[in-house]
Symmetry: C2
Subunit: 397 residues, 2 copies
């Protein structure tokens, strides 16, 4: 899960800069754009209170021909009313003009504080300079400019062979809070020089998102701004991928998205550990999903994980209140592979002693088998630390 130092995807250029939205003076404006027409796919937050750029993206009749992204950090442009919607239109128009693109060619994203008017003037003033600095190496710099509370940048690369050529996927993402399953996600942008049919692009992004960003939980809250998008410009020279090439591409995309998602959960605000909770033997998948989500968001479980406390009692109590079918006498539970609970009872103190040092590691698994059916689900979640509280109780004040 180490971030590559360089990301170059043929046919894409990018740049990031500090336009003055963040008082800290850190980079807060990014552009990534394809030199060629693209096939694009976009997944947006399901939060009903959508930020202005999300509402704007939802309103686009067609999201399959976007050429890239314009993203600011430091301001979410959410709960900003008609002025916020106008700000999206104005910055989008100015960016397209600066890049010599037709109107509405870019996906717009914002992330940061809610309820503060977007400083349109600062963005518009910075765009010509940003356009001049675009370069193939700029994707890393763009990734830096979309960070908010992220402790580290999230980016990744995948390469695959198809039709005798190399296909590249490069991705940047941001996010460290307001993370939970069942949303578009935080901001994540994937750029590839493959050619894709629009329906294949949509399906690949949707299935990849479901297996990655929708499987991570930091605090159970979802954001008004979450967006994942894929841009495919075909610069590798192959026709639209099909068959086994398409399958290989989808696998590479899934793998890249999961890497980015795990970086986000590892960077969960104040996180010191990542746990994979897997529930099997549920009555059905929906019940397993409910159980997984209840465990992954329980403050009592998350504090126990933080304290390296082998507290299966809290996990079983959560399963009991998760609103699913549970028969305590059938539950089996493993921490870090050690069977701690069999038929709802503690079987072996020696297993606890073996598990104890393993749950001090920075990643491990909790596996609960409900013993009732074939339903299963899993998620990755971070612990709840003193640092989380400090970060979030002082974030705005």
């Amino acid at each position: 899960m180490k971030s590559p130092e360089e990301i170059i995807v043929p046919g894409f250029r990018a740049a990031g800069t500090a336009c003055g939205i963040k008082r800290s003076g850190k980079p807060d404006l990014a552009v990534v754009v394809s030199d060629l027409p693209c096939v694009s796919a976009v997944v947006l937050t399901r939060n009903k209170v959508a930020a202005a750029p999300v509402a704007w993206a939802r309103s686009l009749r067609d999201r399959s021909g976007l050429r890239g992204v314009l993203v600011n950090s430091g301001n979410a442009n959410a709960c900003t009313g008609a002025a916020g919607a106008a700000a999206v239109r104005e910055t989008s128009r100015a960016a397209c003009a600066a890049l010599g693109l037709p109107g509405n060619a870019l996906l717009v994203g914002s992330t940061g504080v809610i309820g503060v008017p977007l400083p349109v003037g600062k963005i518009v003033a910075a765009l010509p300079g940003l356009a001049r600095r675009l370069s193939p190496e700029g994707i890393v710099e763009a990734g830096e400019a979309i960070r908010t509370t992220d402790a580290f940048p999230k980016r990744g690369v995948r390469r695959l062979r198809a039709g005798g050529r190399t296909v590249t996927l490069g991705g940047i993402a941001k996010g460290a809070g307001m993370i939970a399953p069942n949303m578009g996600t935080m901001l994540a942008y994937i750029f590839t020089d493959a050619a894709l049919a629009p329906a294949d692009a949509r399906r690949a992004l949707r299935e990849g998102t479901d297996a990655s960003f929708n499987r991570i939980v930091v605090d159970g809250d979802t954001s008004t701004n979450d967006t994942a998008a894929l841009f495919a410009n075909g610069a590798c020279g192959l026709p639209a991928l099909k068959g086994s090439d398409l399958a290989a591409f989808r696998e590479a995309l899934r793998s890249l998205l999961l890497d980015l998602a795990l970086m986000i959960v590892r960077d969960g605000e104040g996180a010191t550990r990542v746990v994979r909770i897997a529930v099997t033997g549920a009555r059905n998948d929906a019940q397993a999903e409910k159980a997984v989500r209840a465990v992954a968001t329980s403050p009592l479980v998350k504090t126990a994980v933080h304290g390296a406390d082998l507290n299966w009692g809290r996990v079983i109590a959560v399963l009991g209140r998760a609103g699913i079918d549970v028969d305590p006498s059938r539950i089996e539970m493993r921490f870090a592979g050690e069977l701690l609970l069999r038929r709802g009872m503690r079987p072996d103190p020696a297993a606890e002693r073996r598990a104890a040092p393993r749950i001090r590691r920075d990643a491990y698994g909790i596996d609960a088998d409900l013993g009732l059916g074939k339903g299963s689900a899993h998620a990755y979640f971070s612990d709840l630390s003193v640092e989380y509280v400090k970060l979030n109780s002082g974030y705005r004040s």
Copy 2:
């Protein structure tokens, strides 16, 4: 919400002692018993993983003739299998024998660590001494002996006039974590010298619990042991209460239960503030309830409350992901009475300035009007502090 120094309910005697379950040597065993037959009512946790004493209480064919309670703290007797069930039967039998009562005359309660065998011998050995120390003043002492992580004891008294006599209600409760709506509750025991018909006792306890313990949220987790019970022995000399006397009794019970519930939320682990979240204008009550619960359990909202951060943005983001009908342009929100959000936008920075000092108080309200219908709900929740994390990450280890 000040606890009375003394609680005497005619016809009840009680005592508490340290029998050695808690390593700290603090009181951990309590008995409260009526000298007369009682009409009783019991509300038990809805958690499907029930502790042994809860499973035992559920298995009783009739819970309307119990004479009092035997409660230990320091051990939940949960996830203890057949041995746990046997421990309930054995301690119950020994307690009834020591008190000269028929078998199964007492409700049994346990609270503390999950998954550790209950030390039956220590409890049984302490019972004769506990029986000798029973006194009318002992209810306060019994309340002390049921504490676990409680920072202060929870108890209360109500008196009302009926038929020319004084009717007394005395209550003890414990709980400071694993608190959420939709459960029996933590442990709460109410004793009264009124006479009640069994159906009236059940209804009064159920409605009082719904309006109190089911309206508080500390961390969204419910326990395997939550129990509320009412014991009415008729020692005041009146026949079973009816009509306006019964209505007055129910009102007194509601008021007493709400006091105890608010003491629990104020003593929420690490809590420094209590907020009343009220949602009105929802499509229906069920949607309002969902919204209230989502806000009251959101770590981002709870940390903002802790930091005295006027962060209505986090509240509106939670409303958007709560799975209910929301139209952002119709939402109005008040913090401490000040209108901060009108039609989904921030209307007036001056209102924020007025609200800012008020949300530093130890209790205030957040009112959200969704503007869609007549559904409403409310709950009381505590903030999420550094102290909460410290308490819960170190509780067992």
